[in-house]
């Protein structure tokens, strides 16, 4: 009996002496090169977008903390991460006022609603992104090509739309620059609506120019690898997401190569890499059990490919992650390791609520929440 029999495990136990601030700070560090390259790609508009969105997030967070609505501190860097990620998912020429709306919604609806840092159920950046995607579908679909001449001196005109007003259409501006209106479509949109597939090198670095792509996937992978190596992030989730997306895409590609694009295109187009590395790995919104992480990642990968192929939108990562966020408590529950002594049976008991009618309408003020049974035996302080 020399082997340890007892393994007590519950919500995240980080063995190293890392505080939340340390982790968050390193995530911000790792995001900086990506932002820098993004600004290099799109110029002054991208810079303004990143600044405005992040500022909106910080201001909202500050207001809500000072009114006591939400827990947390401004110095924990979490709002900065939300702002940076949100800005990276928006088109560079996204009107600044809409960016501010996205930032406010991200923090207020995605985070403060649930009580602040660590309690959010959905990734705040994605809540903000999904909100503006539904609210301003035209603006969010207008991308501009990267590496345009004069990008450091001139704003993309749609950026500077007056608050609450409609932005100028990107198509006219592009026409004035002698560019095809189609240059403004992302690789995914081009594939989905026109059947044009982008080349591998264009996707990987977007250095060949004139492609409307988001932040460079290769760089994101590099920065993600840094985080994973320093153990600031669990490597299982990105691996599971990319693996399951590649597998699904490969199976479909094998079935009908003319109709479906190759897995490589699937992985490196759109926001899949960014989502897999930075969004899905948000600790508060993903399962803590290793098995749960695999399930969670696989679900995201599968849903992404399904939405991209079969639904009306070209991009699906955001929705896949949001749905998986909602399912993550469920996944966690199913994949909970069996407590010692309970045996590996199906019929093992869990703490449960008694079934009583008062439970049906908990909204009513008079109804009381039944107490969890095991809480009764908890020693009183």
């Amino acid at each position: 009996m020399t082997q340890p029999l007892i393994e007590i495990r519950s919500a995240p136990h980080v063995k190293a002496a890392k505080s939340v601030e340390t982790i968050m700070r390193h995530v911000v560090y790792s995001l900086l090169p990506i932002c820098a390259f993004y600004i290099f790609q799109y110029g002054i508009s991208a810079l303004a977008s990143i600044l405005v969105v992040t500022a909106a997030c910080l201001l909202t967070e500050r207001t809500l903390i000072s009114t006591g609505t939400q827990a947390g501190r401004l110095s924990d860097f979490s709002a900065v991460i939300t702002g940076l990620l949100l800005a990276l998912t928006l088109p560079p020429g996204f009107p600044l006022w809409m960016g501010a709306v996205a930032g406010i919604v991200a923090i207020a609806l995605g985070k403060a609603l649930f009580g602040g840092i660590g309690f959010n159920v959905f990734n705040p950046a994605l809540v903000g992104r999904a909100f503006v995607q539904a609210a301003f579908p035209t603006a969010i679909a207008s991308y501009t090509p990267s590496f345009l001449a004069g990008r450091f001196t001139e704003f993309i005109p749609s950026s500077l739309a007056l608050p609450l007003m409609m932005p100028a259409t990107a198509a006219d501006w592009l026409k004035a620059k002698n560019l095809d209106a189609l240059a403004g479509a992302t690789p995914l949109a081009k594939w989905k609506f026109d059947g044009v597939m982008a080349n591998a090198d264009e996707l990987l670095t977007s250095l060949s120019g004139n492609m409307a792509v988001g932040p460079a996937p290769a760089l994101i992978l590099l920065c993600g690898a840094y985080l994973a190596l320093r153990r600031f992030m669990d490597w299982r989730i990105p691996v599971a997401i990319l693996g399951s997306a590649a597998l699904t895409a490969w199976v479909l590609f094998a079935i009908d190569a003319t109709r479906y694009p190759n897995p490589f295109f699937m992985l490196f187009s759109g926001g899949l890499i960014l989502g897999a590395v930075y969004m899905a790995t948000d600790m508060a919104t993903s399962p803590v059990t290793p098995k749960g992480m695999w399930v969670y990642g696989a679900l995201i990968g599968l849903l992404t490919v399904v939405i991209r192929y079969y639904s009306g939108l070209p991009e699906g990562v955001m929705y896949a992650i949001l749905i998986a966020n909602a399912a993550s408590p469920l996944i966690e529950k199913v994949t909970q390791p069996t407590p010692f002594g309970r045996g590996a049976g199906i019929g093992r008991k869990r703490a449960s609520y008694p079934l009583n009618p008062g439970y049906i309408s908990r909204e009513e003020a008079s109804a009381v929440t039944p107490k969890k049974r095991f809480l009764h035996r908890k020693p009183k302080k």
Binding site: T69, Q70, A71, L109, G110, A112, L113, F114, G115, G116, G118, F119, V121, F122, V127, A130, F131, Q133, A134, V306, I307, Y310, S311, G312, L313, G316, M318, Y319, A320, L322, I323, N325, A326, A327, S328, P329, L330, K333, S352, Y353, L355, P357, Y359, I360, S361, R362, E363, T369
Partner: protein, 192 residues
């Protein structure tokens, strides 16, 4: 246009989810989604009632349109649904008392679930044939269950977090439903 049964099923399950896109069955959705243990059985019971009601409504509609009595449709549907719920209750009581005990308090609630009547009305309005109606009602029921289970999963977790007092209660549930509905928008156009 002829939609295949599979398209209808996927469409009602995800893209046009009864609860999150059509706003049907919201009362039980907000009321019973507090715990997973109750959400899932409730979803299954509703699905079953939907199936029964949809099939009855299909037959009834044939009968009514044969006699040109379309103006009696609504009143007969509601009676049929009430009877279907009663029937399900009696059958369960006889053949599966344990399930009946587990569901006992929820079964009568299903009568006033507008999702059930909605299924019957929409399938008539869209002129679905028998197979299509079958797919529509099972898809609708599965979608209802899915929404309920996801919502319960989230709400169960929120019991452990310090949600601001101001938001507690229905407002929180509505906001959550809104975010879920937002995430389901990604499925728009699915099954087309």
């Amino acid at each position: 246009m002829h939609e295949t049964a599979f398209q209808i099923f996927v469409n009602t399950l995800l893209a046009n989810n009864l609860v999150l896109a059509m706003f049907l069955g919201l009362c039980p959705f907000l009321g019973v989604s507090g715990r997973l243990e109750t959400a899932f059985p409730m979803g299954m019971a509703t699905t079953f009632v939907m199936l029964v009601a949809s099939l009855c409504a299909f037959g009834l509609n044939l009968l009514l349109s044969y006699f040109h009595l379309e103006f009696l449709r609504l009143i007969s549907y509601i009676v049929i649904i009430a009877s279907a719920v009663q029937l399900v209750e009696m059958v369960l009581k006889k053949y599966s008392p344990s399930l009946f005990r587990a569901l006992g308090i929820y079964l009568p609630l299903i009568t006033t679930n507008c999702a059930v009547l909605g299924i019957a009305l929409f399938q008539t309005a869209r002129e679905y044939d028998f197979i299509q109606s079958l797919a529509f009602s099972t898809g609708g029921g599965a979608g209802f269950t899915l929404a309920l289970v996801l919502m319960a999963s989230v709400r169960e977790r929120l019991q452990l977090s310090n949600v601001p007092d101001l938001v507690q209660g229905t407002a929180l549930s509505l906001m959550l439903a809104g975010i879920l509905s937002l995430s389901f928008m990604g499925f728009a156009g699915l099954g087309g």
